[in-house]
């Protein structure tokens, strides 16, 4: 089984990397991009027995820093 975890910065937390990427996109000649925020994707291969609660615990204990980040869990097929 595969579960995906998306970790993103909380609203209001400045994202200098996202800003730099935004500038780089504009430098490539694309216009109309209003904002870019960078995050992380984890793909976790696991046994079916692993519960969503276990994955949530992994997120709060390690994958995300809850001071600055949020996470979303998605069951992949």
């Amino acid at each position: 089984m595969k579960t995906r975890v998306f970790v993103t910065l909380k609203n209001g937390v400045l994202d200098p990397q996202g800003k730099a990427i935004h500038h780089a996109i504009e430098n490539l000649g694309f216009s109309g991009v209003n904002d870019v925020r960078a995050g992380r994707l984890f793909e976790i291969e696991h046994e079916p027995g692993l519960s969503t609660t276990d994955i949530e615990t992994m997120c709060t204990k390690l994958l995300a820093n809850m001071v600055i980040e949020n996470f979303e869990i998605e069951q992949a097929v």
């Binding site: 400045l14 200098p16 990397q17 204990k61 390690l62 820093n65 001071v67 600055i68």
Partner: protein, 221 residues
């Protein structure tokens, strides 16, 4: 006096830190590998040095904060053992939950490596008692993720409780309220981005960092 310096894969200021502690405080200083699960008995100081532990994988300090030795460090900190985290050590202390907030990528994106001017905000702590309140000191910084972030409530609490130990005299990395170093609520844990251990004798360009270690002798010996 007995001290431990914690060494992770990727630490690079462990030796400088050990030399500073030995030279200034005379402490019997042990360098402890991160796989250890127990610290020496009767420790008077634990130092978490700078560097790039675990290659800064995931987030700076995140992996180190979950390594075996850190459980012993957290337990010792709760017992009141003084803990000093410098640079990556500060990042590790926030990741381990011993200090509030987080250290994010520098606002200017660039790695900052230069001497900066700091203001001593609190000279009542075990780490800062040899400085004057409001004193300006020069200390080197060398980091990519030194941009201190915490919510307003936490920042107000830090200010109100006198837990901001050092502030940058001018913006260096985008840190909230120019915070360079903070204390925990009981005052026995200090995290700071600048490197006092790299400023302990004139050959290094100054010795303003020396007093931090001298302060510890007075408190502990």
């Amino acid at each position: 006096m007995r001290a431990a310096v914690i060494q992770f894969p990727g630490s690079n200021c462990d030796r400088d830190m050990a030399v500073a502690i030995r030279q200034i405080t005379g402490a019997d200083t042990h360098i402890m590998w991160h796989r250890e699960t127990e610290l020496p008995e009767k420790l008077d100081l634990i130092a978490i040095p700078g560097g790039f532990s675990y290659g800064d994988y995931l987030r700076s300090g995140a992996m180190a904060a979950r390594s075996p030795i850190m459980q012993a460090v957290v337990a010792a900190a709760h017992r009141g053992v003084p803990v000093l985290g410098v640079c990556n050590g500060f990042q590790i202390l926030t990741e381990a939950g011993l200090l509030p907030g987080a250290l994010m990528r520098n606002a200017g994106i660039r790695f900052v490596c230069r001497n900066v001017q700091l203001t001593v905000e609190n000279n009542q702590s075990i780490f800062t008692n040899q400085y004057e309140a409001g004193q300006s000191i020069i200390c080197p910084v060398a980091h990519h993720d030194g941009n201190y972030f915490a919510d307003d409530e936490t920042l107000d609490r830090l200010e109100g409780d006198g837990r901001i130990a050092f502030r940058y005299a001018e913006p260096v990395n985008g840190s909230a309220r120019n915070i360079a170093g903070i204390l925990n609520a009981s005052g026995n844990v200090l995290g700071m981005m600048p490197h006092p251990e790299r400023m302990i004798e004139p050959l290094q360009g100054g010795s303003d960092g020396r007093r931090l270690f001298e302060g510890l002798i007075r408190e502990i010996a």
